[in-house]
Amino acid sequence: MKKRLCYFGLLIALFGLLAACAPPAQETVPSGGVTDQLGRTVELDGIPQRIVSLAPSNTEILFALGLDDRVVGVTEYCNYPEAAKDKEVIGGFNTVDLERVVALSPDLILATSMHEDEALRALENRGLTVFALDPTTLDEVLEAIGLVGEITGKVEEAAGLVNDMKERMSAVTEKTDSLSPEQKPRVFFITWHDPLMTPGSGTRHDELIQMAGGVNIARDLTSYADISLEAVIEADPEVMIAGVGMGAGDDLPAQFIRTEPRLGGTDARRNDRVYEVDVDIAGRPGPRIVGALEEFARLIHPELFAGD
């Protein structure tokens, strides 16, 4: 019996060895194309070797999957990780410089839904392969990472990253799910102060607030919407969070919620629960979004997450 087991073990080891010698299974492109997040089926000729990213979140996903060397072009706003800044710049968000992209002769362009109406078609008409990501919710971010893994031959790396992110997400929600409605503070997230803008339902920030155990005071609004100062005062938020770090005058929203006299009577200001978060982390639908969730959780429920 013992001997048999031993043989069996040997057999397994042998298989393992064979598997290690064989070309890695994930380094092939799925045949029949892959459906992107805009519902388009994209055919790939082989594993992409020259990738252009049209959004900072796409760049972060590519680098997180270890595709550093295959990324040949990024946008002006791709500032993370540090190595992304050394890549060739192919334009801003909306202004894709077509000739720079073509000059890089990429075999994959990673776009977003923002490019749906214009740039995507223009690039495809020049015979380029475009794959679009459109992650809104956290689940869709995970899906996007999986898709990028699939088309770049990094299936295992993507699965590993997704699992890691899921674990960190459930570590937060395990603690917040059991909270009663009274234990969930009213949260006001400010994206800009003039006009006063806030994420309504259906946005990633709304989802982050919910998962972190808070209640978004702008739940009745949809998408990123204008909100009146009156409505904010009436909702009397217990926590106020400003997104900072975007362009010039980036900390103005934070200054606004800290100093605006008419917000002085809110619960958040009286208890000094006014915070700021980096929008590069909290706003981008990339791998760092889970870090944003943890930060939201610490800010909204310091008593639960103080040690983290």
């Binding site: 334009g91 002769s105 223009a122 008409n125």
Partner: protein, 362 residues
Amino acid sequence: MTPYRTGPSLTELPVPVLPQRRRRIYAIIGLLAALGGVIVFATTLGSVQIPFTTTFRLLLDQMPGVDIASTWQSTTETIILSIRLPRVILAGIVGAALSIAGATYQGLFRNPLADPYLIGVAQGAALGAVIGFSLPFQWQGAGFGIIPLLAFTGALVTVFVVYNLSRVGKTIPVTTLILAGVALGALCSSIVSYLIITSGDKMHGIMFWLMGSFSLSEWSEVRVVLPYFITGVTIILLYARSLNVMQLDEEQAQQLGVDVEKVKRILLAAATLITAAAVSFVGTIGFVGIIIPHIVRLIWGPDYRFLLPLSLLSGAVFLILADLVARTALAPMEIPVGVITAICGAPFFLYILRRKRKVVFF
């Protein structure tokens, strides 16, 4: 001291002035040559560095009967032939269309402030485009999307409504037409503003369209715009003489045998058609349609038989150069071309205005 002079007296000096007519014909020939030169020049420049000789040989290779062994990469060919050239050509067509439409409107309305957007073309097109952006589905045919199609429809419908609102019996009083155009345009603009603030994540796309840009021009767009452009321009040029006569009183023009109402209808339709076609693909580009005809008028005079073709050519040259600045000045970022047309156009216009200091004819 007595003044002492040799040579012929002043009255005997030969007049070094070409007859007006000849001077203008030379201007047309000169501008045609300039247009050709500007097209080649603008195609050689871009955010990616390509040697001038390569571009030149590549362009020469496209001429019928010329065959040059290609030493360039296929990406270079894509950049020159399917990114830069269609963009340059489209900029030329749009510049020409807006300028000749502007000149036509100014002549029709006998109003120096008339521009191609005066009677609601731009606002109607913007409304159509924004509705296109808000639609939950995408449609594509003939190489372009639903947005240019709706913009074009919006422009034509708006002008049609303006026209019918201002019709009194069989005549179209110019003042009523302008007022109706301004009012309906304002209505369209306010609806556009409303749709923008409720558009959520589509907002960036809308703003980009409204600012006007050639950045994603393609041959398919050139092919769609060209028939409207050629038809409209031909009609306008055929009625140049009538426009001259109409610069008098409408009543006098009528007495001189011009069917004023008919000419008005035809010219309105032609100018609107080319403006709408131009606007629907590249958005609203300001300043060209108002400044170019005035500059031409100040330099070469108000005769519409020359004013129209000269505006056409100058407009094409001007917008190609403006777009060249827009795409190269801050490359790889792009400046909205409307910003360039205003920054370059306005001071140059003021300079001409000051230098000439003569009565501006309309």
